[in-house]
Symmetry: C2
Subunit: 627 residues, 2 copies
């Protein structure tokens, strides 16, 4: 079928996850198929009874990797992914396809022959809301409409865990009842998240579904604190490094490991074309910071920025399909001096650009003064606001100061305005914050921003570990996720030092999946513990391959194990290299259970009582030893 | 001087930290010299004023690397480190030097000619308390004696930060007053920790100074929640891998990166000899789990263990100089059945050994029944108890269960008994615990164990990230450290998968320095923020080399930076590879400050008011835009 070399061929990672297959769960309200990943498990060998086994049900997990991990789907990066949402969007009857793109700059790039080699050529006619229509998910939700996106999300968030636990009932009472069950409460519903619940959360503004009508390739996902905690990965070229193919692969790579959204923060040349490639090939929503590109257009001179130029950039990007825009509309002129005595001033790029513009003109931030016009654009494409924290602290010394919290209050005002236009809105947060000051951020955000979803960068809990800021920030991210932050923007090991390479992107994503999962467990998200229980059971039973396959990063788990004990035999051995063959605590525990069983002490309900009684008798005698 | 190749030559890492020198601060009560590391900083170039600079005072930091990073000290691993505490110990007049070692096994190894090549040969005559004497720091503290160890610790914990801030006053008002000062409160004392405060904390049992009289090479350190949070690194060979030289270097390597204590968990052959090498060359206290070696002596058969054999092992190790023993005396017979329904049973090696022994004999744990005899041994050498949590949870499903907390209560009982004997005691804690269940652990420990220091393994906040458990556990460790845990036992990336290599040890140690520092910041430890402020100031001023040198891991910070911008010139450039030359937020912020200054808006106290006024005037006009 492929007749010539396609861009990115060989560069794009497509290998499926080990022992995993892609499954598609059908909707009931809409004609949809929700992609998930199912991990097959091996059987448990019954200890001490050679040849006897018990099967373990497969585990379904939330999957952000898109069609890339489905070997049955042919992918050509020049054609982009299948636009699964296109019919949903068109069938709602409120959009029109444009003959030409509406942005001057976009048109100029399109007509520039010298860019032909770089250009993504398929499907470049964008959609826009018909005049007077609002195509945002918030608008539909408020009208009581449960969209296909909402049903998709409900099914996706449930991960089939309720069903899986029911399956387990007959087969594996131990795991299901004893442990997994406990965290769900007595009356575990078959499905926790309903499509109607999704609609309600969106309607209230507590959740956001980033879903530009021009990015029909994206698989619907939701950002809100009553759902699984999401993570974002930043990618982007710069004046110094990178190529288009590398950027597309970075996006695919980030999604593979668990990025729920991607922010394209490119600042180099050809960012218009790079963005098109990324969007067309991205199964997750894409965010940008449009002021970065606007600044490129005025050759880096912040004072030369104008509202008209910025407006054109918004339209250019909205028609490409960007799902959310970071807009630094809260950097008000009167807040800027509050940063002058800081240790690290203004560290947000967008924030510093706007600050420079404000001071140069001694005028209020044009993003603030034109905010309602921005809303008009957003709702015509369903682009969501990510209201930027341009004054976030860049060091522990600057955390939770007047500049930061003043801006936060303004973001709250702007949220109300966005909601008036039915534009979906999330709020960006810090930054560098020590642990004891994190909760205050969440509480102030909920209060000032009326429960709009919070989206934080870390926060980094210290300044002294450059090279390890994925870790310093994962601590803060896990905590703020627990407290209610809906999405965590990853930090890579290269933070403060340089641009992340592929390894850094993966390290950042996995570290943030860890932070998000820690938060899901702590929040008691129904089913969050299911995968932990399955992995721990595999670990205890020395099902090494299952332990690897259930891990967030199967490759690294396997590689680390094989470093010390590479033989295939070792992966079914009842010991590991940490303790050696004679000395494994898990082996000994198994012996303990065996012993208890042989002595009739392991009957389901007798066990506790019987042993307790014997033990207490003993304790009565033993208690003479110490009073 | 060296006439032949010494064991470990070339293997032991001795390179000093960049831009750092070893300094020695003298005591006033005792004739002591407290080792610290001083990091020299470059000058700040005044922005926009070519050639004008301002100096930055050097930063002193807590240093666990020992004499290895002092190029003026000659080190020969065959002779061991200088026994700096020997004269302190001898001069107290309560110890005697033995002609022969007291342990049968130790003697047997000493007389075995076949081990000569392996043996550490210097100074093998151990000390012991004179009959009827108690040589523990707790004993001295209760008697009101401020030992040399206590004064050393007071000076060490202060890190000269109070003095440094005073120095900064004249030179750098901005940093000292504006930021660092704030976290200390208005009346920052010159010294926060006094020798008398150290004594009081030890006397109360809230802090422990691990300091076996047979490990005079160790630099005194303290474990208690009113001091800097400490970290422990586990090393150890096993039946499968490693050599003696590698183990010594692992200890040196772990101390280099910040390990405050080392636990030698060797389980292979020649562990007696390996331990001797490690202790003689270790500048930090050494902990062990004596039951591991006892089990080796009975060929791995837990049921063959006896009190007599264990007792001999304790004496053997105490006379070698082990500073604290993990003793699993809380694994009571009646608690064992509480683990049978767990997902991961008993995961502590010591715990599972004792459980097996208890069941095999249907007798109470001999560590419990002989606890007072153990105390008698401990106080004759000042070995501290680390009361092991043999029933700690090995999975999220098993966290905070009846088995775990029952044992904790028993550890509390045992603490009282240890204190009756003036034996220093810390309490070990979990394990696998989700974030929302961590605080309960700390509160129960404080309550049941009478505020004895808590020493936790992580806790790991999830089960699904094998290969990244240094991170899953750093989240839990930072939190429990903040809540009051005094020492954090590191977890390496290889946890659950295999034995850590040198890279893993470093990754584990740095990750735990991060957790401990996050906790120190959150607890408001006086001076904890000083290094952060210095690093952030360097970062903001593009003093790249200073940023690297102040980092927990200067090598990695520099390496990551150089990956993208390797040229030497880039390290003094006013931009970095993340944004490129035209687009750096820090550069723009500097421009903002410049602009403000040029317009007379940066006068120290006028700034805020002046700009606020101008801005508010503007806002009055602008407020028409939005109501």
């Amino acid at each position: 079928m492929k007749t010539e070399k396609t861009p990115g061929e060989g560069v794009i990672t497509r290998v499926p996850f080990p022992a995993s297959k892609k499954i598609y769960v059908k909707g009931t309200l809409h004609n949809i198929e929700v992609a998930m990943r199912e991990i097959e498990l091996t059987d448990t060998r019954i200890y001490g009874k050679t040849g006897m086994t018990e099967s373990n049900a497969p585990v379904t997990v939330y999957d952000t990797s898109g069609p890339y991990t489905d070997p049955n789907i042919e992918i050509d990066v020049r054609k982009g992914l299948n636009p699964l949402r296109k019919s949903w969007i068109v069938n709602r009857g409120d959009v029109e396809q444009l003959d030409v793109i509406s942005s001057d700059y976009g048109l100029q790039r399109q007509l520039d022959k010298s860019l032909d080699a770089l250009r993504f050529t398929c499907n470049n006619k964008p959609f826009r809301a018909k005049k007077g229509q609002n195509v945002s998910q918030l608008h539909y939700a408020k009208k009581g409409i449960v969209t296909a996106e909402m049903e998709y999300i409900a099914i996706r968030e449930n991960q089939r865990i309720a069903e899986q636990i029911e399956q387990l009932d007959s087969k594996n009472r131990f795991l299901a009842h004893q442990h997994a069950g406990e965290s769900f409460g007595a009356n575990t519903p078959k499905t926790w998240i309903t499509p109607e619940f999704v609609r309600e959360e969106v309607a209230s503004g507590r959740a956001v579904i980033p879903s530009n009508i021009n990015h029909p390739e994206s698989e619907p996902m939701i950002i809100g604190r009553n759902f699984l905690v999401k993570i974002n990965a930043n990618i982007g070229n710069s004046a110094v490094t990178s190529s288009i193919e590398e950027e597309v692969e970075k996006a695919v790579w980030a999604c593979r490991w668990g990025a729920d959204t991607i922010m394209d923060l490119s600042t180099g040349k050809n960012i218009h074309e790079t963005r098109e490639w990324i969007i067309r090939n991205s199964p997750v929503p894409i965010g940008t910071v449009p002021i970065y590109q606007a600044l490129e257009k005025v050759n880096g001179k912040a004072e030369d920025l104008t509202w008209e130029l910025f407006r054109d950039t918004l339209i250019e990007q909205a028609e490409q399909g960007v799902d959310y825009f970071t807009i630094h509309a809260g950097v008000l002129l009167r807040y800027i001096p509050l940063t002058a005595k800081r240790v690290t001033g203004i560290v947000s790029r967008g924030g510093s650009i706007m600050a420079k513009w404000c001071l140069a003109h001694h005028k209020e931030n044009f993003l603030y003064t034109h905010f309602e016009e921005i809303c008009e654009i957003m709702k015509a494409y369903d682009v969501a606001f990510s209201l930027g924290d341009g004054l976030r602290p860049g060091s522990i010394a600057d955390a939770n100061d007047a500049a930061q919290f003043s801006e936060l209050e303004t973001l709250g005002e702007l949220t109300k305005i966005a909601w008036k236009h039915d534009v979906q809105t999330i709020i960006e947060g810090p930054g560098h914050v020590p642990m004891h000051m994190i909760k205050d951020n969440m509480e102030k955000q909920l209060k000032h921003c009326h429960e709009a979803p919070f989206y934080t960068l870390g926060p980094l809990t210290m300044d002294i570990a450059p090279g390890y800021d994925h870790i310093t920030s994962a601590i803060g991210a896990a905590m703020i996720g627990w407290f209610g932050t809906a999405m965590l923007c990853y930090v890579t090991p290269k933070e403060h030092l340089g641009l992340p390479n592929k390894k850094d992107v993966k390290d950042g994503v996995i570290t943030y999946k860890i932070a998000a999962h820690a938060a899901d467990l702590a929040k008691g998200h129904p089913g969050a513990q299911y995968r932990d229980n399955a992995l721990s059971k595999a670990r205890f039973e020395f099902r090494w391959e299952d332990q690897f396959n259930l891990a967030l990063d199967p490759d690294t788990a396997k590689e680390f194990h094989d470093e010390t004990l590479p033989a295939e035999g070792a992966k079914v051995a009842h010991f590991c290299s940490m303790c050696g063959p004679n000395f494994c605590s898990m082996k000994i525990t198994q012996d303990v259970r065996n012993y208890a069983e042989e002595n009739g002490l392991l009957e389901q309900d007798v066990l506790h009582e019987g042993m307790q009684k014997k033990a207490l008798e003993f304790a009565d005698k033993g208690s003479e030893i110490y009073l």
